[in-house]
């Protein structure tokens, strides 16, 4: 029971991180039709930037903000300076993002080196918390809370604000949105900045739980892609459901069936692609 409880908390904490990574990826994919293969690198770059901010400032919260803001800025520069030039050319965009992910991975090696690094959580979140006779890692509980609060904030933004309605209009039909005079390009920049911010923030938040290493992007990006495929591109509900599913299956799969862990993850994805290619919450 105790092991199950701890595994569940670990799985939900991982789901929270995946949500932070996947929500930006799915909005960018759903709205701009860009499969941003550099998105996993945003997570990793964010974590390393956060580490540097922590080393300089000693403040974990500044590190989280720093990681997020650095990636938001990077996202804006990329969207205006690069992606806009390749609008409507999906293959070019995929190759561009692949190249960017390689550049980012090399940048990490040059700036921060190849040795895995650790990032401690804030002091008050170190150690266990005992409840209902079960001992939980405090930091992972905190991640779940942060993930839930972020999910709520994103839902409110997407569903209850004008900018959220504009983003959803762009996901529904970019061409008609432009023909209505909606500044879709500004919305693209906003989505890119927000998605990159969340990925960077997620990287810093995930660093105390996952070991920081340059090759991490090749681990997290496939999971984000699975989340989006299962949940459906451009869908908040899809990102949430997909993150929960992948977090739970990945964590419990590795705990109970480590030799089948990728099988348990990618078989559902393959089934979704075969029978409902738009994803659970995506539109046909």
């Amino acid at each position: 029971m105790s092991f199950l409880g701890v595994q569940l908390i670990t799985a939900l904490a991982f789901s929270a991180l995946l949500f932070l990574l996947a929500i930006g990826f799915t909005l960018i994919f759903g709205m701009m039709n860009i499969v941003n293969l550099a998105h996993g690198s945003y997570f990793v770059v964010g974590s390393y930037v956060g580490l540097s901010v922590l080393v300089v400032s000693g403040n974990f919260y500044l590190a989280v903000l720093g990681g997020g803001l650095a990636l938001a800025l990077l996202g804006i520069v990329q969207e205006i300076g690069l992606f806009r030039r390749f609008h409507g050319k999906p293959l070019d965009q995929v190759l561009l993002t692949l190249a960017m992910s390689l550049v980012f991975d090399q940048m990490i090696l040059v700036i921060w080196g190849s040795q895995p690094q650790e990032m401690p959580p804030p002091g008050w979140l170190v150690g266990p918390l005992t409840a209902l006779g079960i001992t939980f890692p405090k930091y992972r509980l905190a991640l779940i809370v942060v993930g839930a609060v972020t999910a709520l904030a994103m839902w409110l933004l997407i569903e209850k604000t004008k900018i959220g309605a504009i983003v959803r209009a762009g996901v529904d039909n970019e061409e008609i949105a432009r023909a209505m005079g909606i500044d879709v390009d500004k919305a693209f920049v906003f989505v890119f900045a927000l998605g990159s911010f969340l990925a960077g923030m997620g990287g810093v938040l995930g660093a105390p739980m996952l070991e920081l290493q340059p090759a991490m992007s090749s681990t997290v990006l496939p999971l984000a892609i699975v989340v989006v495929i299962i949940g459906g591109p451009g869908s908040f509900a899809g990102a949430l459901a997909g993150s929960l599913f992948v977090g739970l299956v990945d964590s419990f799969g590795k705990a109970y069936f480590p030799q089948f862990s990728y099988f348990t993850l990618f078989v559902p994805m393959a089934l979704i692609l075969a029978f409902r290619p738009q994803g659970i919450f995506g539109r046909a």
């Binding site: 309605a165 209009a169 039909n173 008609i176 023909a179 209505m180 005079g181 909606i182």
Partner: protein, 234 residues
Amino acid sequence: MILEIDNVHTYYGDSHVLHGVSVGVNGGEVVALLGRNGVGKTTLARSIMGLTPARRGQITFRNEEIARLQPTQIARRGIGLVPQGRFVFPSLTVYENLMVASRGDGEHGKGWNIERVLDVFPPLRQRINNRGSALSGGEQQMLAIGRALVTNPSLLVMDEPSEGLAPLMVREVGKLVQTLKEQGYPIFLIEQNLAFALEHADVVYVMSKGTIVFRGAPAELERNDAVTAQYLGI
């Protein structure tokens, strides 16, 4: 002339769809463009809006050349589009569909806002929190028209507004077209429904295979059996 389309050639890839099309819309006028399916009517609407830009020729709106502008820029200069197939935003509610498009105060005496659209289309008020995907065809058409109106356009481009609607709904759309005409809105009305177009238009054009084959008053077209038989299948 508020809209002047001069010798426009439009292509889809290498496919030459519009061959030197010239059309004019004066202020306060309803100009109808008729023709069978696939002759290029919607392509002309798309060229006006910059969605499928003309490769050659000029499109002038309020004395400004717009053929090389982006769709957002063209819409913001005052052309409101009611697209063929309605294309309301399915994941947005009725209110949100109107909200994202809402702009300005208008220039024909009365500005259009969301409240006014809901007054004109009571069924939309009843469905205000329903998503676009949940509306009937007629309700979606009302919403598509309302969405174009809240942009407070100086010119409306309506692409087959009667398509797929029940006769009662077609009459309602016709009443709205008449009301807008009386308020001085110029309308470029693209239609396959000959009766609908003739009832409301001041000038009619007929298109066939991407070229204009007739221009004249509605009464002239009604009397011209050769054109209606050959190009409209009537």
